[in-house]
Symmetry: D2
Subunit: 349 residues, 4 copies
């Protein structure tokens, strides 16, 4: 058994940070050696900073760790970033410049020319961008917005097999996507909020890069009109999306379902620890998938699809579900890091 | 002050039936003289059959009324039907044949050639179909499915002013739309159910009749491709819908907003009791409308619209909200009856 | 019709403050002439500071009012305070010293010797304390904690008729009681939080003063052991409480019910605008009262009681419900002010 | 490894039945060989009867099993009963008379003189009653009502160490306790229902038997006044209870906490598969335990306690949480059966 790789978590006291810790505890390859957060938390025991929000058993040694400031000098060379976008940009650059491999869930560098925006099942080859980064030994790799991931994983097999001409998506997104404290309870119980700032723009642009083609030092974006409408609903975890697609070539429903169910990417070939054997799962029951029932499939890494049927405007419509803080955030980022380990990119870590 | 018109409620113990009673109590024109329901409730005091579900003060004389069987012979000539579709078809016909004016919220006769499918602000003239019915003195008039009404009211001003080429809609529908007991709580708390049986078909077909043109004894349907995806969310009342439209003629956002805000129909001209002065209201706040905040506007009869913005696929997208058991059911049906009174169709009632 | 009395609201942008505004708009005696809040809001239009949280139609002239700082100089002599307890103490004193009548919902001065802690139906005579205050023309009058009010109103008729030896209460409190933004939605959906800081102490001590006897310049507290356990549940408005009592003299259930249903206080005798004709209402249905169904009775000013039955430890147990931001906060404070008007205490206002 | 014991589940399509199946799949000692339910389901594949309510991955061979009628003849000699109480009484007797060991979660036989009402950590010796039953080779063993279990486990260490004179409990119970479909969503969202039929009586009487003393062929009940008030809240799983106790001997808070944390019973000594190592866990954080955070501790078999503090009426008060369908129903019943296996009572099974 190999020696575990020491890792740090930036923004460890936020909701994505806590999820990072949950998924890294007992991880077969990684070992948490540093937890960093804002000045306000620095110096305190990690346990005390997150106490009221823990939903899993925190190992004593992690709970007792002193939270550090988000500055290079942490005892590791790989850091996961769940930092708030208000500060992530500069801090992540500082870490990369100091030689750290930064695997970030924040939006700040996602669309930077040299930075891979990675969904390992979809565009593992985009990691090739990293050699064009100018951080010395350091690097930055990102994963997309939580609502983008599920949709893109549902779209990629269709793109590969039938081509895509247009996509329409309406989301019903979970509360954990808004961080902590996030949405006040008096605003969302018995309610839907039909607006999430900045979200629709991310869903309409990020997929163009993710499904684009690596061209040396940059990505040639795919051309694909996407229209997104984002809503917040009273669900704790799991983003549900009603998707309509126009295909380039005619296809029968069974062909789409087969494309989803048989889809495999590098994480499956490399048998990465967090990779589900079958990353996409199609349900034939008409009322599936549902957030409460299916968000935790494959430890939250499976994307569930259902309700495939003809669309009167485009060709087909269907429903996609993915766990927004696992597959759509911390889990996705860790899968990125697992891929980077297997590719030898963290060899010197 | 005119003498009140005696009315009966069929299916009075169901959730739509209770809403009928709530809206008819204190109605300036109508007076409840009969409450009818299934065999199981017949003979009991009305209060006892609905006790645990009352959200308003039931007048003593209504609560003490004995529930009757759903058979002609009720002491009135106008009946409102909130019957379950499993039985509504036959019962409503029997009442019409017996000379009753049946104003129904049930789906059974909505698409019948001679039966008006009415949203009074939109197609009051369709009442002209009634003379072609073959019920003698009786008649049947219907209102659309709860999720259809809000959408159609949002679409009609666009159709009139700019023409419509295509509509895409994704709904987030309230629980009261499923009747009582309806959706089990363990199925919907912390969840969304992406399926409502039969609902999408209604939303894709009913508007074609409602916005169609009266042609003597039938309606010439409008041609308009509509694609609907229906979801159930943890909201008590108020259907929220994300709508995208393709227009026939170019238009600026302000023109659409003006078309909505200035829209008036016959209920407004005739100053019907349940008609809101401004039936459509556009909100400029980006996070509006919301079910909890706006469903009760205009006593639940106003349709709220917001978030107008460009759509990357069609031309525009926006959000529509309407109260599903008021505007979308009992309130809509009563507005139909008010219109029929003013038009003299219930003159002999 | 008398000229309306100009009033100000301190803390107007908080959740209690907004409720004050809602209840004062259209009030027959009072007219809002000043809205004051923290530095952060001062200078902005009122509408802009509360926009996303409005649940009622804000009149244009109120929405356009500029929010002022919380300093004496407001154009009125009566101010309602919904200030946060972190700042209420000093600000309220400053206003009283400047000659204002301060009617406060904040906890800071509730237990001050000279300050009435008022539930008008229960202890209207405690207003006699005011003449012993040393604020010159100014004065401070308070109402109790939101969870105290409903319980005390349920207890007072029992105390008057049968005497009280002990009280045990467990609360299930609504989210609006925590202010805004209050409880994060991810903490309370599918959950109960069995702790509300400081709440149990208030429920165990405030009633002793409220039900105490005015003795010149102070209140002689009643002796009564109360044990309170406070829980937060996923309810928007309305505190529900399971209460057990030990009486001093034996009584039949019907006697308790009659004591509640026939209870009247000065607000009823004086026919104050916000006073419900019957302040306490007993329900015979076993599953009543419920927050969603009964919190709004009497415009939120009625306290609902139900489920009276024998207690195996004490004598009786029952369930009490009251609207926490109306009867338990803003509505209660306004009722205090109405009483003060009728008593001529605001004569020079 | 021993050969697995074949078991059947009666009422397999109800909510407790489904939980039985979930906990029996992969059980180290038991193997499901029969699933039985009402006539309506008999003959269908198990998967089809429960499809929309599954929250775990149902193994194909279990899903394909044909549901049988609830009549002796099932291929096993141990049956778990999650039957509705309307039919459980007779069916369970019929199975016992036919030689089956019936381990039941239903209420019907709980208070029968010869039937153990078992919480294995508390009264394992009560199994001695079984030899006095008159079912031949068959037998009936029961577990208590879901709201009783958590309370009794919290009380037993106090009874053993300090004696108990009185208990007061107010519950906030989860929706799954009402079975399926159970509580309609429109009745409980934004609400609390302060009534659960028959529940208070069970909580006031069952503990007297459970904590009683085995006296040959019957149980001498403990004398202990208990007062229970039961409320239904919008929580999916996990009953929370506010408990007050009067002790016979004085004790410091630390002594109570130590009594809980060190409590062990036969399930722990025998290391039964479903037995948590530490059955009671005390939390020092003031806002704990909470249903969402702690119901699943120890696979749902740990009872969580917190908020120990002085009671102004009795001696102490605290909060108890237990998973109502695991520890309080199916899990408790399976633990009973595990105990019976270890005691050799199912030797011939």
């Amino acid at each position: 058994m190999m020696k575990k790789i020491p890792v740090g978590v930036l923004g460890a006291t936020g909701s994505v940070g806590i999820r990072f810790v949950e998924l890294l505890v007992n991880h077969p390859w990684f070992e948490i050696t540093a937890l960093a957060a804002s000045e306000r938390s620095a110096g305190k025991k990690y346990r005390e900073t997150i106490q009221s929000r823990l939903t899993f058993e925190l190992p004593a040694e992690i709970g007792d760790m002193a939270v550090q400031a988000c500055e290079p000098g942490l005892p590791c060379r790989l850091v996961f970033s769940g930092l708030d976008s208000a500060v992530a940009g500069g801090i992540e650059k500082a870490f990369a410049n100091a030689g750290y491999a930064v695997v970030s869930n924040s939006k700040n560098h996602r669309m930077d020319t040299n930075v891979p925006l990675l969904v390992p099942e979809v565009n593992a080859d985009h990691l090739g961008l990293v050699v064009h980064q100018s951080f010395g030994d350091g690097m930055i790799v990102t994963n997309p917005n939580c609502s983008t991931v599920g949709m893109v994983m549902g779209l990629k097999p269709l793109l590969d097999n039938f081509g895509l001409e247009a996509v329409h998506v309406v989301t019903m997104q979970a509360l954990s996507g808004a961080g902590y404290p996030g949405v006040p309870s008096v605003d969302i119980i018995d309610n839907v909020i039909p607006y999430i700032g900045g979200e629709e723009d991310k869903m309409e642009t990020e997929p163009l890069k993710i499904m684009g083609r690596l061209n040396k030092d940059h990505i040639d974006y795919i051309e694909l009109p996407i229209s997104a409408s984002c809503n917040r609903v009273a669900v704790l975890d799991g983003h549900l999306e009603s998707v309509s697609v126009k295909l380039k070539t005619k296809a029968e429903p069974e062909e789409l379902i087969r494309a989803w169910n048989t889809y495999r990417g590098e994480p499956q070939e490399l048998d990465l620890p967090l990779a589900p054997q079958q990353p996409l799962r199609y349900f034939t029951e008409p009322q599936y998938p549902q957030p409460k029932l299916h968000r935790d499939l494959g430890k939250g890494m499976v994307v569930s699809i259902g309700r495939l049927r003809k669309c009167n405007l485009l060709d087909y419509k269907f429903t996609v579900l993915s766990h927004n803080t696992v597959r759509g955030a911390a889990g996705g980022a860790i899968l990125n890091a697992e891929l980077m380990v297997k590719k030898g990119m963290l060899g010197s870590v």
